[in-house]
Assembly symmetry: C2
Homo-oligomer: 535 residues x 2
């Protein structure tokens, strides 16, 4: 293991693809200037000490959370800026996280009877205007196609910001009788919202999401569906992403444009700001009335259908980064990690190399056969120390090191990403396949649980129960979440936003017992609300 303490020399073989800081990118519609190689050369002088260099690449989280976030995205190669202002290229490592989100949700959607399909992204402008609050909510953010095939179009086309309108247009054609209900569909698609302040993953002009759309014969069924889907999202957040979201109902002010009720999962990021990580809407008959989506009930009466829609987007990846990451970089929950285990071979002399590489290959095969996502980094262009830092920065949950002595003893060294230093390191784990497999699986499970527990502890220590507006203001000014009884008006809610920057994130499903008095008015309040600043 001697080599581990060597200075991590940056040589000529410093990887040319090492990403650079990009947060000062112009981010304009015109192309960014092509300074990459110049900048790169500046960022990677050939005779530098990589250890210091690598630390410098990521701004400490405590120093500047936003800079830290953007540094991680660039350095871990999760995403890059597109040429058009506010757009984002999702790079393979970031996209692989999205694929693991898709795999899980797709299964859950199908298990609950939903089918995937695909609606066109171009929506006639007139559709958007049909539902009054919908147009009010979305019209400032639309991208419009006005020219097609070289000609000015008669009617402008909206590039979908969401699909309720076109879905209802089609549902109206497909639904005739109660026997066609419930109609349960989902689509995986790109959507466009012309946002002014963008941030990779969290808010981009174009993003990827799934949007579920359902139609039901009764309001009860629609309500059950909306609740079922927010429950699926909640379970996903806890069990896969290790994010202890708080699920609840949005206030009227914060309800989706066109919905009767919006359910949400709200996550606390590392800077204690809230991220709305998924929503499920009970649309009532708002869209079915606007689009005439009717069915003949069992008594032969025509009725408007009751609907829901629900979505999770690539924003969730931003949530994972900002929940678990630390100064060393990304930290990925094993269940969503594209690479769960990285194997780093260590050798000094060439005669050690063969035996070490043989052992690493065999360990790789063992783990792969056990269904574990494993990467063997056997490139000889970087030092082991460089690789340790690199894969830590990429957030890989477990690292296996194998050197000549390990080969002799038939064992490996295993380090946990979530426990720094010696504490997270176990020496002498047997290479014997059943033992190694069990050890790795147990540790992946342990990391998964530990990330969730840590996030729960962080969340709970940063939510303050408040009973007055002064309490609320104090909590928010400390950057915390405030939870208190609320039955005041929309105007009061907007006043809180104006004066503190915080909004009602939700009325949580989990409510304390007992009578309550509104923190603002002192009137009786049935529920507590959570207030926080948010992304």
């Amino acid at each position: 293991m001697m080599i581990l303490s060597l200075p991590l020399a940056l040589t000529l073989r410093f990887p040319s693809s090492l990403p650079i800081l990009r947060r000062h990118s112009r981010y304009g519609i015109s192309l960014r200037p092509p300074p990459l190689r110049a900048t790169f050369s500046a960022a990677a002088p050939e005779t530098h000490n990589s250890s210091k260099k690598q630390e410098k690449l990521i701004t400490p989280r405590s120093q500047d959370f936003n800079a830290w976030y953007l540094d991680i995205i660039a350095n871990a190669e999760l995403a890059d800026y597109g040429p058009v202002r506010g757009t984002m290229v999702i790079r393979p490592y970031g996209y692989a996280i999205w694929e693991s989100i898709q795999d899980y949700l797709n299964r859950k959607f199908k298990d609950t009877g939903h089918s995937n399909m695909y609606f066109p992204q171009f929506i006639p402008y007139s559709f958007i205007e049909k539902e009054a609050s919908h147009v009010e909510g979305f019209s400032p953010e639309l991208a419009l196609v006005t020219i097609g095939g070289g000609k000015e179009l008669e009617e402008k086309l909206v590039v979908r910001p969401t699909s309720e309108t076109i879905v209802n247009h089609m549902f109206t054609q497909w639904i005739n009788s109660y026997r066609d209900l419930p109609l349960l569909i989902n689509q995986w698609a790109n959507v466009t919202r012309w946002e002014m302040r963008t941030k990779p993953f969290v808010r981009t002009l174009e993003f990827l999401w799934q949007e579920g759309h359902t139609a039901h014969a009764t309001p009860e069924e629609a309500e059950n569906e909306a609740i079922q889907m927010i429950d699926i999202y909640t379970k996903f957040a806890y069990e896969q992403a290790a994010i202890p979201v708080i699920a609840g109902r949005k206030s009227k002010v914060e309800t989706f444009a066109g919905a009767c009720k919006t359910y949400t999962i709200e996550a606390m990021m590392g800077d204690k700001k809230a991220l709305q990580a998924g929503t499920s809407h009970n649309l009532g008959q708002n869209f079915s009335r606007a689009f005439g989506t009717q069915f003949l009930d069992e008594n032969g009466q025509r009725q408007h259908v009751w609907q829901t829609s629900w979505a999770i987007s690539t924003r969730f990846i931003g949530g994972i980064i900002m929940t678990h990451g630390d100064d060393a970089g990304l930290m990925l929950p094993p269940k969503v990690a594209p690479v769960q285990v990285v194997i780093v071979p260590i050798w000094k002399k060439d005669d050690e190399k063969t035996a070490v590489l043989k052992a690493t290959s065999s360990v790789k095969e063992t783990l792969q056969a056990a269904g574990i996502r494993v990467k063997l980094d056997d490139s000889d262009q970087r030092t082991p120390g460089w690789k340790f830092n690199f894969w830590e920065m990429k957030g890989v949950p477990l690292r296996i090191e194998i050197g000549p002595r390990d080969v002799s003893s038939g064992s490996v060294v295993i380090s946990r990403r979530d426990v720094p230093g010696k504490q997270g390191k176990v020496f002498g784990v047997s290479m014997d396949p059943p033992i190694l497999e069990a050890f790795v699986k147990d540790n992946l499970d342990a990391i998964q649980s530990s990330l969730l527990e840590r996030a729960i502890a962080f969340r709970d220590s940063n939510i303050v129960d408040v009973s007055s507006y002064d309490d609320l203001k104090a909590a928010i000014s400390q950057g915390k979440w405030a939870r208190g009884p609320w039955s005041a008006s929309n105007e009061d809610e907007l006043k809180v936003k104006e004066e503190t920057g915080a909004t009602i994130r939700c009325f949580p499903f989990e409510q304390p017992q007992g009578t309550k008095r509104c923190l603002m008015t002192g009137d009786p309040a049935e529920e507590v609300a959570i207030f926080a600043k948010s992304y």
Copy 2:
């Protein structure tokens, strides 16, 4: 089995979702009028004979191939028209075929070292202009976003028709040294081409596809990659879709706008027209020169990368329909069929129902456990005969019928979709799980092979070897494909197109031995080309 011979009564329970003929739809940018229910009522009078009715729903293939195609798409619920001219809604049954295409190709792409990622769909207009032949090929078909967030944009944005330009813009930032190569990526995305003459699946304003993009250090590597990918497509077409495509190289005239060479797979549809079902382009350095995508080679010299791109789209679904379908409807190769086996219970008296449904459920579980995609149609709103026709029309490869007598004898009746009438029907297949499972699997394999063999025979009987232009004209006027030696000019090629409507589909990889003389000029020719009319 008595009930099978009963007239298939259309009752009040005629399914309200039964699709209707739509090929006369206005297909305009404005909404189609909402005549659905009226039309539906007309199409499904309550006292009609469903057997005749259902036949009438699908135009015979021999009578009007195009009408037949559109009828299948509507009746099998594969797709519907979107509200904007030329757009298409892919319905769950059609989308499930796409998902099976995705599953297979995604695995093959990853096995060959490609990673998925995602590029923004909005491309600055100036990008498109950078590669001369690219802009010439695509500019007539562009959809342009000119307004965003309520404001006129400074630079128009192209809604991607394909992504070579934006990919190269990003590759230029990511590629620095030979160590960054090869760069092998793929994306699953929607693309937009403002086509004038549209047809569901075959040519729509917006479609779904995968587009692979790679960069290499040498022209040989790029060529190998382009060939590898057309080989993967060819294998997919033969082994999954049972479509005996002819793989080859496009003529210069037909090469992709911006490519050095285009490889293609060409499929013969049921009307003998050719469908270009997938392409793989060797882009050479065309885009890397236009975008300055360079790398430092091992000798420290700056060079432009060598590139490929390759794509298969939802058009392939059109190819499956038009290769295998018949007058009864869709016929799906088992490997891409969303439902491989449909089980139809048959009973007359209520006391038979319980036993029959118990048997069908148990058979369903047996097959599901064996990994077979199975659907149990136990609705009591339709007659068994109606269900037979319906699932035949949906192209399900195997049908299992279970009635009271079958329950008594512990056996089932199995019918093949591809062999009509009694010949395709086997009585008395044991319900015993291992026997039934083996029988079903063997039959699915047999259907898969049989569809391919039939398509090969059809293809081969409709390709004519020609040695003169007169031969060629005769073959094309008979609606056939003409295969003959070709070394004439681009002008001659365009003349053929003008005079016969046929184009060179490809110079097939499989070439006859021996010296050849160009069918047009009599000059020596190294290769034969295939001419055909195409979609």
